[in-house]
Assembly symmetry: C2
DNA sequence: GCATATTTTGGAAACGATTCCAATTTCCTT
DNA sequence: AAGGAAATTGGAATCGTTTCCAAAATATGC
């Protein structure tokens, strides 16, 4: 069933059918009604390939996720997907694995899928820096600030990781903690890991504390297993610490386990703070203190920035959305 | 940069360029080399819209996920995505929300995206039964057996939920448990919930046990919060039970919390068994006993079935992939 | 009712690829 | 070296839309 068939069926010309389908003015009520009825009856669906070929200008939006296991990104994707539903922007999603370079892939997909813009869910500044000559379309990097890059069509939406980590550690210091241990991603390859770590160090320095080099820090994956391994490693170094900063809630779950295996109590012996505020944190034993990433707000904002750039040519913006610290049971005053 | 430009640039005709691009035989090495070089140099990318329009036969594969929060499905999607990479099948992913009807949506997307086949990650038999006149393309339903439907282009890949639940409960009975409580999804709307529940009842009946109607069962969402609410509700009914069967690990986490809030120990007072065997289960305190769903195997198998149907016209198959029960610390002998 | 302005309609060209047929070139064979 | 078979190439037709221009129909003003 093509537009031509519809034309034949209704006695109108293809041009008229097309106009009806695209809500052009200048088509009589009679024709519109007749054609719409025929569409309804035949279950006609436009061939998007033909449409997009003709209006050679791009129409779709691309979302590129780093890894598919990340629940936060999955949630953001869902928000984006839902928001785009029923708009004139088809959505293409692509997942990057391991060491794939997001920028290079983006470039390929932009041409291939004829994209108007890209949202990167995850991704490292480094790759953008070295490979980002020009994507040719507006882009938004989520979860990382791209302000330092100064590209004028790359926006970013993020929480201020630096401040979040600092405030979290400040709160722990206020509870009497002096000895901190940290586990997170590789600071060289993961920008968010580096920023969070800097926040930790900054808070400690401001309080006149220094971080024991032996406890600073364990590099692991953002997973329960990573958290477990990292905590075990720190524990084996046999230095006293009363507070453990982990860079994700999933890591924190692994950390809980490792501490338990060493007969250490949370928060009695060690306070643990996570990051992300996954819904599961509220139900853990003990309930997990965490840095809340407002996924829905971040997703909405990133899409707004992108559409604004696409539709109105807005220039790149860099927005830190507000985060909150959620204090629960896994952190507490240090034992005397 | 179009194929025509390439032709002009290299002095060959568009037909020849197209043949090179598609690895047709019958093109001289000289031409191939020259054209490939020009492609390389110009960064030419094929316009997929034009390509797919012309080869009006469909080319892409569609994956439809029920909800985006499900980690198992996300993992399966990643496997499928990776497997399809570099093949001639572009992949389209769509997420369904809440009460969306997967079959109706599939039908629309198949036309729109020109799909050769569909994989449904999640989805209820009921919808297929009532709405599935004919999708027109092969499809695979994952996580549910569609055998009973008898459609000859709808395959399915699943674990035998019935048997898994039964075996799990048998094992618990062998540990001395007699009083079971169950929480899961709505048995009317969620096929897997019904099947798992039937497995539980069957095991109990076979052992001469009956399930206390008051403990059978709480209907909740497959989330930590659902597990928490459901367990609280059962606890409030004030009937003794020593084993709790939850239909997902996430639920089990919520159950842990609810039991803790009632000062009940796991497994001392109540044994808890989850479902899915998420990676997080191994690190919980106590480590969670669970039914393992082999996500990678299921994903691979579903794709194979689909491609086999697409490429070789294979008829629908219904495959139960082997599951395993993973016994950890959250289940134990019943206290005397 | 007639000339003119306006709205509606028909139909051809174009988007960028594939594919088929015919034309050309190359390669064998004798 | 000539003839025919095989390999390679050129170029037109085509996919299903949109969009533009011209033609037809309708509305408006006097």
């Amino acid at each position: 069933m093509t537009i031509k068939d519809l034309a034949a069926k209704t006695g109108y010309a293809v041009g008229t059918v097309s106009r009806v389908l695209n809500n052009h003015p200048n088509v009589s009520e009679k024709a519109r009604a007749a054609i719409l009825a025929a569409v309804e009856e035949s279950g006609f669906q436009l061939n998007q390939n033909a449409k997009q070929l003709k209006q050679s200008h791009a129409t779709s939006i691309l979302v590129i996720l780093k890894g598919s296991g990340n629940i936060l990104f999955a949630e953001m994707l869902e928000v984006i997907q839902t928001s785009l539903h029923g708009t004139r922007y088809p959505l293409h999603v692509d997942y990057l694995h391991g060491a794939d370079n997001e920028v290079r892939r983006a470039r390929q997909l932009i041409r291939e899928k004829n994209a108007l813009g890209v949202i990167f869910l995850g991704g490292n500044l480094e790759n953008f820096q070295s490979d980002f000559a020009d994507l040719g379309v507006p882009a938004v990097l989520v979860t990382n600030s791209a302000e330092s890059l100064g590209f004028d069509n790359l926006s970013s939406v993020y929480i201020d990781d630096h401040a979040a980590a600092r405030q979290a550690v400040e709160a722990l210091i206020a509870m009497g903690h002096k000895n901190f241990a940290v586990i997170g991603g590789h600071r060289l390859y993961s920008d968010i890991s580096r920023m969070r770590w800097e926040g930790v160090v900054e808070a400690m320095t401001a309080a006149g504390l220094t971080i024991d080099p032996e406890l600073d820090y364990a590099t692991v994956y953002f997973s329960p297993d990573g958290g477990y391994q990292g905590t075990m490693e720190l524990l084996q170094r046999d230095r006293h610490f009363t507070a453990l900063f982990t860079m994700s809630d999933l890591m924190a779950i692994g950390a809980f386990r490792a501490l338990e295996d060493h007969n250490l109590e949370v928060p009695g012996d060690v306070s643990v703070i996570g990051y992300d505020n996954l819904s599961v944190g509220e139900f853990l034993i003990p309930r997990l203190t965490s840095v809340d990433q407002p996924t829905e707000a971040m997703a909405r904002r990133s899409l707004q920035l992108l559409l604004d750039a696409i539709e109105n040519g807005a220039t790149a913006k860099h927005e830190a959305v507000p985060f909150t610290l959620v204090f629960r049971e896994s952190t507490g005053k240090v034992k005397e």
